[in-house]
Symmetry: C2
Subunit: 343 residues, 2 copies
Amino acid sequence: MATPTIRDVAREAGVSTATVSYVLNDSRRVAEETRQRVLQAAQRLGYRANIIARNLQASETRLLGYTWRPTPPDQFNPILDQFLNAIAQAAARHEYHILTFPTTSIEEEIAIYREMVLTGQVDGFVLSNTNLDDPRVRALLEIGFPFVAFGRSNPQWDFPWVDVDGVHGVVLATQHLLERGHRRIGCLAWPEASLTGQYRLEGYRRTMAEAGLAVDPAWIMRTENTYEDAYRTACAMLSLPSRQRPSAIIALSDLMAIGAMNAAADLGLEVGRELAVVGFDDAPVARFLRPPLSSLAQPIPEVGERLATMLIDLVNGRQPAEPHVLLKPTLVVRASSAFRYTE
Amino acid sequence: MATPTIRDVAREAGVSTATVSYVLNDSRRVAEETRQRVLQAAQRLGYRANIIARNLQASETRLLGYTWRPTPPDQFNPILDQFLNAIAQAAARHEYHILTFPTTSIEEEIAIYREMVLTGQVDGFVLSNTNLDDPRVRALLEIGFPFVAFGRSNPQWDFPWVDVDGVHGVVLATQHLLERGHRRIGCLAWPEASLTGQYRLEGYRRTMAEAGLAVDPAWIMRTENTYEDAYRTACAMLSLPSRQRPSAIIALSDLMAIGAMNAAADLGLEVGRELAVVGFDDAPVARFLRPPLSSLAQPIPEVGERLATMLIDLVNGRQPAEPHVLLKPTLVVRASSAFRYTE
DNA sequence: GGCCATTGTTTAAACGTTTAACCACAGGCC
DNA sequence: GGCCTGTGGTTAAACGTTTAAACAATGGCC
């Protein structure tokens, strides 16, 4: 009843364990007749090689570690599901699996990385949500352990990453709004410390400049990525005198976009007619909002796919073909910004 | 530079590997002086026992497997984040970790379970989203491998599960609506095949019966758990003649509740004044909707916590103290149903 | 017939732990 | 002095693979 080992198969086939291993892994020439005997014996016993034993021998785990901070109740994580799935799927294709573990702070996260490296629990790590001078990146570079990151960190540091081009995304959004007739466009941005926030804001600034439009400083307001903050800040922006008030708002996340939409509604402004709103992330719920929210969709499946294969390359000592990948988001236009705006 | 093994520590401390192991695991009396020498040697070398080797020796993996179907684009998964975190956290407390892997169908899922059991890749499984006569439950019972399920399946089958009491949840919701003056209450339900759907609907039926109210068959409409279906179905329900039309709708999920809210809006009915809507799951977005959506919150952290500890008990051959746990959801009342209704 | 190459198989070490079984020694007791 | 007990340590097997190295048998060639 206990699961059969390679020894059982060897006995059953009247052959040594080495031969069994060679047959099953196709790693050496074996006489056809013997081959068949072994295969049949394995089949009969329902034998499958034990993974831990194999891993010990190969001194690898075929596990990739991933952790993320649990989402606080005033936010939501629109991509975890897709992201996790994408990396797990790509990993599975190479017979790797994802090991998830919870962490509550960056410090704890780093401590656990160290511990896992030392105990040999995983072969590499996937980081997400990196920031400027991210201490996790620094730590892993210093340890010299394989990892890849969803997001950039410090141009000086050489490590493999995949990121979504925030500049390009917001350029698309801004151009789209300009096309629809908007001239006063506001941006609900993140604190300056956020690298992702910097890129996205840059897209806005650049496009406005190229269009020859001056940006009123009151049109750029920074807040934390929470609904409440975004709501309050949008209220402030929309309470500007009517000649100064933006007719369109780009929010750096869908969560904040929802805050803006609700602020507008509470101030008696109709989103989709008097005010345009565009978000970022294309959260599943964006389609279901009233009006449906335009948003920048990140190619999360491809991000995950690329990260996983890059990491597997690294783990196996291969230099990834493209260690820095910048993918383009696509703008999904919905009713919140589809209308033509006229003064 | 290579990570040190127990042999290195033994050499460094001038002692055998057995002694090192005994000291580090506190599994036998060792003279204090030797103990210190070993501890210091280990410290000096930064030694940590290799997990794979330990696992091979103990023939365990300290991994718990979990898989879920990626959410299709017309739905969302409001609890994955929390759930995964809860089980990972509880598991970590006992030095277990979660292994995630993707599957695209129930059949594939079962095949992978079989494979993982045979190759000894995990010590047990966490199932979620179980249904009546769930084939996964049947397969794992037949294999005789440790698992726990979030959700019930077949009263005849004896297996450990944790579930949220759907009957009680919808009883709460229905009572709440009755209290606010509603008499014609509709229910957006799931296809009959859904066990969870059966329980929830039962809560509605029971409460209506206890209140002595006859349920018009047109008030119960079944659809798949998608936004589009829910929207269409809600339109149908709200297009009933005004004396027959429900003044309140209980939807079996927040996704469907959103469909109902939008249907109402499109038919010119004001949710929160003319129509009450209550959902189920308390998705993060429920708070941000307009009006904010009342919903039944599932105690997901506790579900995950219980499941993980139950599974770890099982894996270690202990009978879980409570193998069947039914937790109560709580009703979160928000503006979508807080108002008092009068004809 | 001796030598060599080729083919097919086995032997045994290795991966890094844990742990049962054994051993050495000291002290106490008769 | 012999025996027993307790203490503190070591030896070696085991977990289940993979794989380098050794070995045996066969056939071809000079």
